[in-house]
Amino acid sequence: MQKSFEAPRSLADAVATLAKHGAAARVLAGGTDLLVQMRSGARKPAVVVDVKRIPELTAISLDAMGATIGAAVCGDELAQHAELTALWPGLFEAAALIGSKQVQGRASIGGNLCNSSPAADTTPVLIVDEARCILAGPSGRREIAAEQFNTGPGRNVLAQDELLVALFLPRPAARTADAYLRLIPRTEMDIAVVGAGVRLTLAADGTCSAARVALGAVGPTAFIVPEAGAALVGKKIDDASLAAAAAAASAAARPIDDKRGTIAYRKHVAGVLTRRAARIAADRAAARA
């Protein structure tokens, strides 16, 4: 039963609160996971720590190095940031797929990552975009690649007294673009059966010079598929190279059978979505200087 509600105004206060309460405290950003979990009894924090009054958690900044997005920035606010959505259309489209407009008015990329669902929509894109997680705890700040943040379903590297402050996205190189696709049984408001994030860089001659492919919902965490990226590098993006990337993605997918899909179906769809997302990323990259 939740006994108290805290709303620290500074990062130092937030860290002190988390250190003081330990496992009894849970961070609240948008609440679209936490409040649902509290209602079902899946989580029973005695202390809820609202971090939305801390400036670093709700700030967005963009400079020559890249973008720093506060962990509690909601998807709707992200969608309204024209420069961010232009530089990282894949991340924006992943955030725009989470739930409904109502959910996007609260849900944050930081929370999506920290909830550590294997099916989280923004995680595959954070991975391919080489996002870095900025964490704060009693001994100060540390950074970790988004690729290493989650360790299993519902589990991540955060210590009891740490919180995610922001995500840093390095500015993409020229002729580079990302994309995200997911499959759900309905048209909206559902959890990914498979999610595929791709980032491609095109050389001047139109061949692919760099490629990253990450899959979500087909393993205990989202993960990068080096073989799928390698299948595209040095080649023109055409049916043959896309088919090779798709095959690599299907082979790498390690889903379970559950109510959303069978292993066979999900492995197949992992390939399909990889092929389509790679095509979208390539078209976007080609359109960029």
């Binding site: 006994k3 108290s4 709303a7 409040l35 649902v36 809820v48 409904s100 959910v103 609260r106």
Partner: protein, 157 residues
Amino acid sequence: MPKLHIETTINGEAAEFLCEPHTTLLDALRNNVGLTGVKEGCATGDCGACSVMFDGRLTCACLVLAAEAEGRAVETVEGVAKPGRLHPVQQKLLEHAGLQCGVCTPGIVVAAKALLEKNPDPSEREVRFGLAGNLCRCTGYDKIVRAVMDAAATLRA
């Protein structure tokens, strides 16, 4: 433990209420403030019947802790109509019979108004996706969508 005393703004007016730390904004609006326009359809953020504007963003009141409302602004369906004048979304829902039991309707009104304020000329597809967070058990959505499209045209005129 002592209750929390929350001072907030609801539909443009200063408001205050007492609540527990775990009280949702949905429950506080209905039980502590007496604004029963928000409906509890699921309490898990899936149905949209409790849609409100929270600091200018469309969201489900069941996904907000009432304590978060301190110093922030809440707009509910009760604030949509002006004195003596329904909002076009409300008027068109009536004209098109876009409701039957009416339980989803307050959420639809708030969500549709928010949709049209962001996108004054939506396609039908955009209206359906924009209202994906609002479930209706009665109407089959068709009349709701027609009403929202008609309200959009009225607002653009």
